[in-house]
Assembly symmetry: C2
Homo-oligomer: 394 residues x 2
């Protein structure tokens, strides 16, 4: 089966996580992604563990389905090759500090001059314009300055980083959306354009109700652990072997939970009889529920909850997610054979499309694996390729 | 200026957050989104606070730039109208429980029969196939079962929900990516397709390095607060009026932090002289840094860090994000005039495109605001529209 983006040509000069995540999603959907890396060294993320036979698991996760070449963008001969690649490409993605590509003569205007159909996407911490556009950011800085850290964490505890690099990944997804929208627009106009993604913007864009709670009511949302501002009990509770999330969104569910706990006395207990009272006495209530729930394994607890019609779910640890039969049935953990690392298991593609496969076609490239192939496709002669290699341009 | 997705026709029968977030992003990019709501009641989220003159801020955030109609999908006359709308549409998005739309005769095959070019996207908790596909989920259940909760939260503390409904929003973004990729494919094949998004899958897809840490090294990643598994100090520290994130990614930065603290004795202190030692003694080190940092306001602290070349950023609270001059300069907080609510400020569109505006063109609809207009565009006579209204189909 063909893939949705088959035929789309993407030139990826981005590094580490946010850009490579975007091009990973596009490659998973079938785009031909050429990843450009520094000769002799490669993407910084090649040095990030864990390692399998010396190959970075971090790099292999993010760069599957891509072809890899080396190219020195700091030297004029390398910049000339990049222009040839930009003539070939539909899309270029970069995540250098603002102004870096332009400084190399590889800014949007430079490349639009050789390929007006090129879509040129940049991801940076704070974007291409605005008073902070020169500031550098990485994941945690985006999570901090976008407001997300201030509303994540235990009640009364410090602001807390989301446990995955959401500052990077979320910006990568918005870049992917921008790139695909620009392709839609190009079908109509015949022209490419510049896309400017700021990691801080993208975090601010996912604050959802937190913004109007402030702009309408003047509340400053803060940290609530896993609990809910308006509904109790709605939280993570202890099992003997882990944790389970239990949600009582209304009075009927609360009564069913009391029945499940064999504590129907609580239904008429003045401290807990309505949601507002439960919210007021939540610490006591949480202790009561934890005392009950921790007598069961998570599996037993879920069965009791289900029997009684109380919504709940196990908090799965990463090993449990990797082994989850449902996740496996949906091809969300994929074993990939890598020529050096051997077989490794990495997350799959969550965009399931009836007319497009969700398979992973190839492992991440070893450094410079496709340099000869790609340059030959550009029409470079063997002599020219040899000369570029000798000069360490590629 | 035109917008990237101008001309794209989108039929949105989704409710609350995950589906409406996807169609919000598509509407912000210029798609003509018709939101379908239950007659007399509307989307459940119309009842979610905060309220401005009785209008839900939650609803108004997610449904700006859309037109709204009412339609009873449970009755055959309403199903017939939906089929007419499906003939008009390029894309349909729904987030009912698996099988609900098919039960109404509005499944993918039903609608593909009237419009083979239709792209039909579904978002559910666990997807359309697999052993758990019948299970119901909401945001917290996706965060729990996707593994994210298990790696978010304080060290030693319980699994913690991300403070925004990432289980919903993240699935919405992958749905948007799937829809746009299917449009790209349709330009080539002339045919639509079915897209199946599972909220659990989408969380598993953003676990990044946590997966290979387990599948390669056998580590089960757990909660680290805001700190880093391999780098110390890298955490949130207290200021007198808030918190600041400080990151020492290498020895040189650590030495600069010691200088900033006027504690160059720490550079040669055996407990802290190398990263591995600092990681071992992180509680003591955190206390030392907090004692120093809390003497300053966040603003003062950032100035000291910057002078000394130490990466840092303020943890902005939601009110600070809303007021941030940079966020404002990038049109990321937008004042929208609503006919009932008055002027409210909501988050803007983070996909900045040079050939496409990032303006918000219209407020969220009041219930049924565009029913007459949309049905007239379908070619329905005034009599037919009146009859549908009298029968409470619309």
């Amino acid at each position: 089966m063909t893939k949705a983006l088959a035929g789309l040509k993407l030139l990826d000069v981005s590094r580490v996580l946010t850009g490579p995540y975007s091009t990973m999603v596009l490659a998973d959907l079938g785009a031909d992604v050429i990843k450009v890396e520094v000769p002799g060294r490669g993407d910084d993320s090649r040095l990030f563990g864990p390692f399998a036979n010396g190959e970075s698991g971090y790099y292999m996760t993010l760069n599957r389905n891509k072809r890899g070449i080396t190219l020195d963008l700091r030297r004029p001969e390398g910049q000339a090759v990049l222009k040839d690649l930009a003539r070939w490409a539909d899309v270029l993605l970069e995540n250098f500090a603002t102004g870096t590509m332009a400084g190399w003569g590889l800014g949007y205007e430079d490349l639009a001059a050789v390929n007006p159909r090129l879509i040129y996407a940049s991801i940076t911490g704070f974007g291409q314009y605005g008073p902070n556009s020169g500031r550098y950011a990485f994941d945690a800085i985006a999570q901090a300055t976008g407001g997300l850290m201030s509303i994540t964490g235990a009640k009364g505890g410090p602001p807390t980083r989301v446990g995955t690099a959401l500052g990077d990944i979320n910006a990568g997804n918005f870049a992917t959306i921008g790139i695909l929208a620009a392709l839609y627009q190009r079908e109509r106009t015949g022209r490419g354009q510049r896309i400017d993604i700021s990691m801080q913007d993208c975090i601010a864009a996912i604050l959802e109700n937190a913004v109007v709670r402030y702009t309408i009511d003047g509340d400053i949302p803060t940290r609530l652990g896993s609990s809910h501002a308006n509904v109790s009990p709605y939280d993570v509770f202890a099992a003997s072997d882990g944790h389970v999330f239990i949600a009582c969104a209304n009075e009927a569910t609360w009564r069913r939970l009391c029945k499940a706990m064999d504590r129907e006395d609580l239904v008429t207990d003045a401290r807990f009889e309505i949601n507002a009272k439960r919210a007021e006495n939540i610490d006591t209530l949480t202790e009561i529920i934890n005392r009950w729930s921790s007598r069961f394994t998570a599996g037993e607890l879920l069965a009791v909850l289900e029997t009684n019609g109380v919504p709940g779910a196990q908090v799965l640890s990463v090993d449990q997610v990797v082994g989850d039969p449902h996740i496996r049935a949906r091809n969300m953990m994929v074993a990939v054979d890598h020529p050096v690392a051997g077989t490794i298991t990495i997350p799959g593609n969550p965009v399931k499309m009836s007319a497009s496969d969700d398979t992973i076609e190839r492992p991440a490239p070893v450094l410079g694996q496709h340099t000869d192939q790609v340059l030959a496709e550009l029409g470079y002669s063997a002599d020219k390729i040899a000369a570029l290699k000798a000069a360490k341009i590629v």
